[in-house]
Structures are given as structure tokens and as C-alpha cells.
């Protein structure tokens, strides 16, 4: 709860700084503030508590994920400095929106009441709509914003309808009450329907097939930093929330009571396979790096959906997977931001010869791509390993084999980029070594590798 308040306060401070003409101090201050919030959040770790009539429930799950969100936001704010270099008047708005978005995100993983959940997801979505469309003179950005907005509101409507049905079944929005009464025998069918509708809405947010179509278009059209945010923070938030919904509302046992669990699991398996396959296969032919990473994100969503099959045990695995994925994503996007800052597109050709002109950045991008592909020592590998381990334990060996095949396909497009960096001649001068971008890239990949070397640090947090 304190985290949420602190984050909100920080956002308002950002706005105040603009009024007080302290524009230059905004980013350093925000980063420091976020670090403080992170510390605060750490202090809350392990204290199971609920606040304000159970509106906010602080648990290990919520604090762990909140910390991850805060870390990601720190990186994203740090990257803002160079990205919004040409928009000095708007920088406070951008930063403040990101901070509020973080507040929404934290609310989404620590909600104790569906109202908080709904408001959290709306804050997140609206902030994202704005950020997607924020390059207002760019027609692509407009289009991305519009697409995201239309489809996102549509999904919000469905989530709202789902919440309504849950309320109809339970007579309450309180998570605890709902999870208690979800086991009762005379449950109206409204509850599972409502849950499914909410899940469908969340699947849209995590961009799982067949609700994924927005992702590539929006990722491509949005300003690169927004894409970074969507593909890391937003995706992680969405999957974590989805996980929390399924586990917190006791959906699995409820479905079991009604003999619906089996079909539900089949649905999860099918969606997971579809997401992985579609994401990976479609990414093969992409030339725009952001678009490629969008499809990669879709496939990773498929992987992460596998955790829904083993809800009771896989919170730690999900945290690990999301952390690994998001940190790799941040590192990758830092490099993309650097490489494409003077270009109006993010085609692979921009990356030609990066290995010669900027070996460090090329190495970082390579490392992050290897992590996403699941090559050992990078945490992406361990993420997949733990996930597969968990899934095989639950008996879904076929699913794991499909996932393995998909991992193989994914190497194809990740390596396309690596090939471009190392085996093509540089086609342009790349000058300047913006400190913040380098720092963000180095730190995020270092964290990624550290996670790979000491997986237990994160994995055992939620035990």
C-alpha cells in the first residue's frame, strides 16, 4: 500500500517539477525516487497484510512483482532522457504518465478488490493509449494509438462484463469473499463465465493468440520507448495479473467442482501452443525489429501461459520468467533505441555492422537475444527450464515438446539480427555514447546474467 502511495506521490512531484521549472532534475529525481520506492517495497516483502477494507492486499506475490515493475520503470525512465531529447516541454508529462502507469501496474498485482483491479488496468491501458499515440505528428503513431485504443476499450468492455457477472454470482467484489464462495456447490454459472470473460480480456492484454493481432501493429507504430514499455512492463503486468486472477479467485478449484477444469486446461494448452507457434513463425519474415520483437513477445506470452496449468506451484517460475524476459527486453530495446534514434524506422538494415562500430552494444543485444532464445547461462534459459520442468511435472509433456520446437524456430529470427550485426558491413557512422542508454543496457543485461547464475535468488522468493 505504501508503495502505491509513494508511486502516486512521485508522479505528482514530477508534474510539480515542471511547474517549478526544474525540468532538468526530473529524470534524476524520478530515478532516485523510484529507487527509494523500491527500497520501501522491499521492506514490505514478506508482510502479508491488507489495507483499507481489503482494497489492497500486500503479499509476497504482489511485492515481488511490484519490485520487478519498479525496476523496469527505472530503466524506462532512464531511457526517456535521450528519447525525449527533442520534446523538452513534454518530458514531465511523459515521465509522470509512466509513473502513474506504474501505479496502475502495482494496483493490478496487489488488488484485493475487483474495483482496484479494474481501475488499475484502466490506468495502465489509458496511459498506454496515450503513449502509443504520443508522437502526434507521426501517422504511424496515430494509427498505433487508435488501434490500441479501439481494441483495448473493446477488451476493457469484456473485462467489465466479466466482472459484472462475477459480481452477479457472488454479490461482492472482494477477492477473499469471492475465493471463499467460489467453492460452494450452488454457484451460478455466471461466475465461470465472468471469469472466462475477464481472462479473455487479460489474454488480449498479454497478446495471446487469437487476441494478439493488435500487438505487432501497435508495437511497430508506437515510439520505440513505448514499444519497450509495452513489450516489457505491460506484458509482464498483464501476465502477472492474469496469474493472480486465476490463482487469487480460486478459479481452478471452482472449475474442478463444476467439471470444467479439463476443458479449461485444454483451452490453455491450445492457446499456449497457438501463441508460441504463431508468434514464432510470424516473426521469421519480419524486417522491422520492433515488429519482430512483438511477435517474439506473443510467443513468450504463449510460454508464460503454460504457468496457468500449474497455478499452485508456478508463481516463482512466472516471476523468474517475466524477470528474465523483461530484463532481456530492456537490454535489447536500449540498443534498438540507440541504433534507431536517427531513423524513422527500425529495420534490420539499421543494425548492419553494429558488431564493428559498437561492439559493446552489439554484444549486449546478442546476449539479450540469446537470453530470449533460451541459450544457457542467460536467465532466459533457466526461465524456460523451470517452466518446462514445472509443466512436465504436471504431465504436459506434449506441450513441452511443442514449446521446444518453437524454441528452435525462434532461434531463426533472433539470429537474423545477430547475423546482421556481425556479418554485414556497417552502412553508417554511429557517433556518441549516451551514458544512460549504455548504463541501462549494461545493467539490465548484467542483471539478466546474474539471474542466470543465481536463479534461486528469484525463484525461491515466492516459495
Amino acid at each position: 500500500m505504501n508503495t502505491l502511495i509513494a508511486i502516486t506521490g512521485l508522479g505528482i512531484f514530477c508534474l510539480l517539477f515542471e511547474i517549478l521549472n526544474l525540468r532538468k532534475a526530473i529524470i534524476p529525481f524520478t530515478i532516485l525516487g523510484l529507487l527509494g520506492v523500491l527500497a520501501l517495497n522491499f521492506c514490505e516483502f514478506g508482510m502479508e497484510q491488507s489495507y483499507y477494507n481489503n482494497m489492497i492486499t500486500v503479499s509476497k506475490f504482489s511485492t515481488a512483482f511490484s519490485s520487478l515493475f519498479i525496476i523496469l520503470t527505472i530503466f524506462l525512465v532512464a531511457l526517456s532522457h535521450n528519447f525525449y531529447h527533442n520534446h523538452p516541454t513534454k518530458i514531465s508529462d511523459f515521465v509522470a504518465i509512466k509513473i502513474f502507469l506504474l501505479a496502475g501496474a502495482v494496483a493490478m498485482v496487489s488488488f484485493g478488490n475487483l474495483a482496484m483491479f479494474f481501475l488499475g488496468i484502466e490506468i495502465l491501458s489509458i496511459a498506454l493509449y496515450v503513449l502509443a499515440a504520443s508522437d502526434r505528428l507521426n501517422i504511424k503513431s496515430n494509427e498505433a494509438g487508435m488501434k490500441y485504443f479501439l481494441m483495448g476499450s473493446f477488451a476493457s468492455g469484456i473485462i467489465l462484463f466479466g466482472i459484472c457477472l462475477i459480481y452477479g454470482a457472488m454479490g461482492s467484489f472482494d477477492v477473499l469473499e469471492i475465493s471463499e464462495s467460489s467453492l460452494s456447490a450452488e454457484l451460478p454459472i455466471w461466475f465461470p463465465i465472468g471469469m472466462i470473460l475477464v481472462i479473455v480480456g487479460m489474454l488480449f492484454k498479454v497478446a495471446a493468440v487469437p487476441f494478439h493481432f493488435w500487438a505487432p501493429d501497435v508495437y511497430e507504430g508506437s515510439p520505440a520507448l513505448t514499444t519497450a514499455l509495452m513489450s516489457t512492463l505491460a506484458k509482464v503486468v498483464a501476465i502477472a495479473t492474469l496469474f493472480k486472477l486465476v490463482s487469487g479467485l480460486n478459479l481452478i478449484s471452482s472449475l474442478e467442482n463444476q467439471d470444467l477444469l479439463h476443458t479449461f486446461e485444454i483451452i490453455v494448452v491450445v492457446l499456449s501452443i497457438a501463441s508460441m507457434s504463431v508468434g514464432n513463425i510470424m516473426a521469421l519474415r519480419q524486417v522491422n525489429v520492433k515488429r519482430m520483437l512483438a511477435f517474439s513477445g506473443i510467443s513468450h506470452a504463449g510460454f508464460m501461459l503454460m504457468t496457468l496449468l500449474t497455478v499452485s506451484a508456478s508463481a516463482g517460475v512466472l516471476l523468474y520468467y517475466t524477470a528474465a524476459y523483461a530484463l532481456a527486453g530492456i537490454a535489447a530495446f536500449s540498443v534498438i533505441l540507440y541504433v534507431c534514434r536517427d531513423h524513422d524506422n527500425e529495420d534490420i538494415t539499421n543494425f548492419h555492422g553494429l558488431g564493428k562500430t559498437n561492439p559493446l552494444l552489439a554484444a549486449i543485444l546478442t546476449a539479450s537475444l540469446l537470453s530470449m532464445a533460451g541459450i544457457p547461462i542467460f536467465s532466459g534459459f533457466f526461465a524456460k527450464l523451470f517452466l518446462f520442468n514445472q509443466t512436465i511435472q504436471a504431465g504436459y509433456i506434449g506441450l513441452v515438446i511443442v514449446a521446444v520446437i518453437n524454441s528452435i524456430i525462434s532461434v531463426g529470427y533472433y539470429f537474423k539480427l545477430i547475423l546482421a550485426m556481425y556479418s554485414k558491413e556497417p552502412n553508417q557512422e554511429r557517433t556518441g555514447k549516451p551514458f544512460l542508454i549504455y548504463a541501462a543496457a549494461v545493467i539490465s543485461i548484467a542483471l539478466n546474467i546474474a539471474l542466470g547464475l543465481f536463479p534461486s535468488l528469484v525463484l525461491d522468493l515466492l516459495k
Partner: protein, 480 residues
């Protein structure tokens, strides 16, 4: 002192090389590889003295993954192979100028690190991690410093990477499955204790087989090999053929057979036949190759086919012969590829048709090349003969026809190798000048040849080293 020292030396060496700058890097790399060699010899000494040089530290709790390195005789032999070949390979590259040499040599040491780790790891997952790690440096070595048309090279290298990764991911799945059965432990001892049903074993065997058949490679999974060998820089080719292939073969013995013994016994004939088919196929394809490195690649295919067949016999002879042959082949193939490189340095071609007549210009080189050729065709008194004889003998114990068919390697091998030798070295004096071998080159050759001849007459040290551990593995295989 335990086996992790050698890993640490190599890893530190990799970074030290990278940070020592382009000029010094090759020397630094050589220094560290020699240090690793020294360390491994010390360790061998300790091992022979009966000291415990293994290491087990817990790493990840759930699933239980340990940082477990175990050096038994077999692993020790392979580590020695790696440690001995790495300095030779590095030293052999001294005649070449590489752009960005620090990264190049750093990657070589890193690869040596990963390969050594693969041989030492006694935890399934740790082993897998090293296994995959070894793949990354060679990918970059082949991609960046390779030769030939860039587009072709990219294709070949990416195919190689994806292909081998594909195989090993199935192995990973098998490992995870096994660890489930072993209550979440990946430790090799725990996995050895499992009693799996025949059906489970079949699938696990198959998953492992996919990984190893691609890595080794066995036909028909070999299509990456010739192209990558051809396109990679010779140093990369040496690493690939000299050591990395052996990773696959070693893994067959260490992991595949003991973990799925029933399946191994059940389908023994199939896999032996596959190995022998590789012998014949590789030899025949090698006959009509125009590119020297490709020819050597196919010869390698033939040789490893025989080694694999030996391993799948599940007899002590087969395994022992396979290991001996692995070591012998490691040295020979490095020597042969180095010879190809020596020619390339002077003629700037790998086309056999453009060579010839070198013998009149450089008799020294010719002699050394000939000895390598002869070792490759397993002339008695070379190390390769010891291995090949043992393997063929073990095959004959299974079925005499296996030995006959596998034995065609000595005919076909002689045919393509001598044909190659004739066209490369003999004939009218070449119009291009062929400078005599330099001292550096000569030293590399001499070391390799000395090893081959010494162990050709006196393989006992190696046999004694590996036999106890092979017997242990056989006990696991035959536990039911």
C-alpha cells in the same frame, strides 16, 4: 586442488585474452591454454594418486541442480584431449592475422572452457549448460572469421546452430523428464539409479540420440557438417572436429547408454548399422570432393561413424576402442586441417585441383602430411590403429558382418586419402611457390605426430586410465 581449477583458468584466460588487446591476445591465449594443460596434467597426477578431485556444490535448490564436476578416468582423458589440443590449435593459428584477434582468441578459450565443462559435468543440467555454451563461441568464430561467400557462410552457420540446438533441446526435455523421475535431482548418480520402463527409455534414448546424432554427426543428420567445416576458419574447424565432435561421442557413453540401457540393447543393431552406414557413406562421398576441407569433413564423418558404432556395441571393447579412437581422431583431424591451412596460407586455395606438386618444393611438409594421412587411415603403429582395431574387433563380436562392413573404412579410407594426397602433394612441381614449413608450423605438426606415434605403440596409459570408468558405466548399463 580440484577440477574446477582448470575451468577457472580457462574462463579467466578467455577474459584476460579479450582485455589484453589485439597484439598480445594470441600469446596470452597460448599461455593460458598451456596453463590449463599443465593444470590438467597435475590433476591427472592427483587422480592417479587416488585423490578426490571432484567437486559438488549445490547451486539451485528446486529443481535440484548442483555444480557437480566429476573427473573419472574417462572424463580425465577427454579433458586432457581438450587441454592438449587447445594450445596446439592456438599455436597453429600463429601464422594467420585475424581482425579483432582479442575476441577471436577469447572465444577460443571460452569454447575450450565450455567443452572442458561438458566433459567434467556430472549434473545433467550443468552438463547441458556447458554443452550449449560451447555452441555459441563456435557460431561466432565461424560467422565472423570464416571464409568464402558471406551469404553462403551465413546460411551454413545458422543451419548448424539451429540444427544442433534443435537436437539438444530434445535432450533437455529428456533430462527434465528424468529428473522428475529422480525426485527433481539432476545428479548423474541419481539418474543412473532410475529404473525406467522400456517405453520411457525408448523415448529418452531417442531424444538423446537426436542431440548426439546431430552433434557427432551421424548420417543422415550430418548435412551441416561439411559446409560448416568448409566455411569456418581452420581454427574453428579444428575445434569442431577435434574436440566438439568428441563431445557428442563422449556423451553417448556417459549419458545416453547408461540412462537408457534397455533401449540401447534393444535397438543396438539399428544404431550400429547407422554408424557403419555413416562409415561407408562418408567414405564414398569423400572420394569425389573438390574442396580439401570438405573432403576431410567427410572423412571425419566416416571415422566418427565407426566410433559411434563401437560405442553402441555396449561392450567394454567397443567403448574402449571408441574412446581411444576419439582421442586419436582428435589429434589426426586437427593435424590434417592444419595441413590444409598450411597449404592455404601459401596457395590461397582449398581446391584440390589447384594444388599438386608440393612434394618437390617441401619434402618436410610432405612427410608430415603423409604421416597424418597414414594415421588417418589407421596404419598400424599409429594411435588410430589401436582404436580402430579395438572398435572393429568389438563389432566383430556382435556380428562379423559389422566388422566387414565397418572394415571397408580401411579400404575406402585409404582410397580417398591417398587419392587426395596424390593430387595435393604429388605430381609435377606446382607453378606457385610453396615456402617450406615454418618453425611454428613444424612444432605443431611434430607434437601431433609424436603423440600419434607414441600412443600407437604404447596406448597402455590411456587404456588404464579409461578402463575402470568404462567398466563402471558398463555396470550401470547391465545393472538389470
Amino acid at each position: 586442488m580440484n577440477v574446477s581449477t582448470i575451468l577457472i583458468i580457462l574462463l579467466i584466460g578467455a577474459f584476460a585474452t579479450y582485455f589484453s588487446g589485439d597484439k598480445l591476445s594470441s600469446k596470452v591465449a597460448l599461455l593460458f591454454s598451456l596453463a590449463a594443460l599443465g593444470c590438467s596434467i597435475l590433476l591427472l597426477n592427483n587422480y592417479n594418486a587416488g585423490e578426490n578431485i571432484s567437486l559438488i556444490t549445490s547451486w539451485i535448490n528446486q529443481p535440484k541442480i548442483s555444480f557437480a564436476l566429476n573427473a573419472d578416468g574417462l572424463a580425465m582423458a577427454m579433458v586432457l584431449l581438450t587441454a592438449a589440443l587447445t594450445p596446439i590449435i592456438i599455436f597453429s593459428s600463429f601464422g594467420n592475422e585475424y581482425k579483432n584477434a582479442k575476441a577471436f582468441y577469447g572465444l577460443i578459450l571460452f569454447m575450450a572452457f565450455a567443452m572442458t565443462g561438458t566433459f567434467l559435468a556430472s549434473d545433467g543440467l550443468l552438463y547441458y549448460i556447458f554443452w550449449e555454451l560451447a555452441l555459441v563461441p563456435i557460431y561466432f568464430i565461424a560467422l565472423i572469421w570464416g571464409n568464402g561467400d558471406a551469404e553462403e557462410r551465413r546460411k551454413a552457420v545458422v543451419k548448424f546452430f539451429i540444427y544442433t540446438l534443435a537436437g539438444s533441446l530434445f535432450m533437455l526435455t529428456a533430462f527434465i523428464y528424468l529428473s522428475q523421475k529422480a525426485n527433481g535431482s539432476f545428479l548423474i548418480e541419481d539418474l543412473y539409479k532410475l529404473n525406467l520402463s522400456a517405453c520411457e527409455q525408448f523415448w529418452i534414448f531417442l531424444a538423446f540420440f537426436l542431440a548426439y546424432a546431430i552433434k557427432i554427426p551421424l548420417i543422415p543428420f550430418h548435412t551441416w557438417q561439411a559446409n560448416v567445416y568448409q566455411k569456418a576458419p581452420t581454427v574453428g574447424t579444428m575445434l569442431l572436429s577435434g574436440i566438439m565432435l568428441k563431445m557428442g561421442l563422449y556423451s553417448v557413453i556417459r549419458w545416453q547408454l547408461p540412462l537408457a540401457p534397455i533401449a540401447a540393447k534393444e535397438y543396438m543393431y539399428v544404431f550400429i548399422a547407422l554408424g557403419i552406414a555413416g562409415v561407408i557413406y562418408g567414405s564414398i562421398v569423400a572420394l569425389r570432393q573438390n574442396d580439401l576441407k570438405k573432403l576431410l569433413a567427410y572423412s571425419s564423418l566416416a571415422h566418427v561413424g565407426l566410433i559411434a558404432a563401437g560405442s553402441y556395441t555396449l561392450t567394454l571393447d567397443g567403448l574402449r576402442g571408441a574412446v581411444l579412437q576419439m582421442i586419436a581422431h582428435g589429434f589426426v583431424v586437427v593435424g590434417l586441417f592444419f595441413a590444409a591451412e598450411v597449404i592455404f596460407r601459401r596457395f590461397e586455395t582449398r581446391e584440390i585441383a589447384e594444388m599438386g606438386g608440393i612434394r618437390t618444393q617441401s619434402p618436410k611438409f610432405t612427410s608430415m602430411f603423409l604421416i597424418l594421412v597414414l594415421a588417418s587411415v589407421a596404419l598400424p603403429s599409429t594411435f588410430n590403429f589401436v582404436g580402430e582395431f579395438t572398435v572393429l574387433y568389438s563389432l566383430s563380436q556382435i556380428n562379423i558382418w559389422f566388422a566387414v562392413l565397418g572394415g571397408t573404412t580401411i579400404i575406402l579410407g585409404a582410397y580417398y586419402m591417398l587419392r587426395m594426397f596424390q593430387h595435393v602433394m604429388l605430381g609435377e612441381t606446382n607453378s606457385k611457390t610453396f615456402a617450406d614449413v615454418s618453425l611454428n608450423e613444424g612444432i605443431s605438426f611434430a607434437v601431433i605426430i609424436a603423440v600419434l606415434l607414441f600412443f600407437g605403440f604404447y596406448p597402455k596409459p590411456i587404456t588404464d586410465l579409461i578402463t575402470p570408468s568404462l567398466e563402471t558405466i558398463l555396470q550401470v548399463i547391465n545393472k538389470n
